[in-house]
């Protein structure tokens, strides 16, 4: 069976599900951020696959913008984690629920 669009989309869904599990299940804030990166990458794979098999370039332009947003998000996210670590001495997401109502 030749590799087609469905293979790339299923791969993207698998990676997204793994990232979703990591975001919900892990306690270390850095690992949660890493899982979010996996989810963004999975979405990028779907975008590039649609761009390749639909023969339009807009999907790849969107991937570039997603990469920009991911880089900004990881910079601010890790800065937040380091700031929280300075004040609380932990990166365990169950120990800094100070914004929980």
């Amino acid at each position: 069976m030749a590799v087609g669009l469905e293979h790339f989309l299923v791969l993207s869904a698998v990676l997204f599900a793994i990232g979703l599990y990591g975001v919900l299940a892990k306690r270390n804030a850095v690992v949660i951020l890493m899982s979010i990166e996996i989810m963004l990458t999975a979405v990028n794979i779907a975008m590039v696959a649609f761009s390749r098999y639909g023969q339009f370039i807009t999907g790849q332009v969107f991937v570039i913008f997603i990469m920009v947003v991911a880089a900004a998000e990881v910079a601010v996210g890790l800065a937040l984690i380091i700031a929280i670590y300075r004040s609380k001495k932990t990166v365990d997401s169950e120990k800094f629920d100070l914004m929980k109502w």
Partner: protein
């Protein structure tokens, strides 16, 4: 045929390394597996004949974000704790599988309008035309630049010593 073999190798390695990121308890190894996952995704972009994005993936994700995450792990070292799972592990597993089953069901049962032939020319000039031509994404490009600047200044303000 060669592309099929490449796809299967890259797919298996990327899924295995993504699983290792969320399952291993050692933070530093998780970061290294994340870098491996990003690298194999760059290979998957290459099999999709997205040459520019494969290069950008290696530069941005493997290079910049990988180094950034490893730095953050070094600065917030919690060595005895590692990366344990929280109380929500089983519901998260359930939601993950539910999402995966729904997505695969929807993907396999949709009749996609697919163009099979491989694009032959390089994508770099096509992407440049799509962004910078008259009715392109120039405004979004400028906003992305402003977003990057705001993120950099925000990160500096957040981690600066008071």
């Amino acid at each position: 045929m060669g592309m099929d073999i490449a796809f299967w190798i890259l797919a298996v390695v990327s899924v295995a390394s993504a699983l290792a990121v969320v399952l291993t308890r050692d933070l530093f190894r998780a970061a290294l597996f994340l870098v491996l996952c990003f690298f194999t995704v760059a290979g998957i972009y290459a099999t999709l004949s997205a040459d520019f994005l494969a290069g950008a993936q290696v530069l941005i994700y493997v290079g910049a974000i990988g180094v950034f995450i490893i730095f953050a792990i070094m600065l917030t070292r919690d060595s005895r704790q590692g990366s344990p799972s929280g109380r929500l592990r089983l519901p998260a597993l359930f939601i993950g599988f539910l999402f995966l089953a729904t997505m695969i069901f929807a993907l396999v049962n949709t009749d996609w309008n697919v163009v099979a032939e491989v694009p032959t020319e390089s994508t770099t000039s096509a992407i440049a035309h799509a962004i910078f031509s008259e009715d392109g994404f120039v405004l979004a490009f400028e906003i992305a630049a402003a977003l990057m600047l705001a993120a950099i200044i925000g990160a500096i303000v957040l981690v600066r010593d008071k």
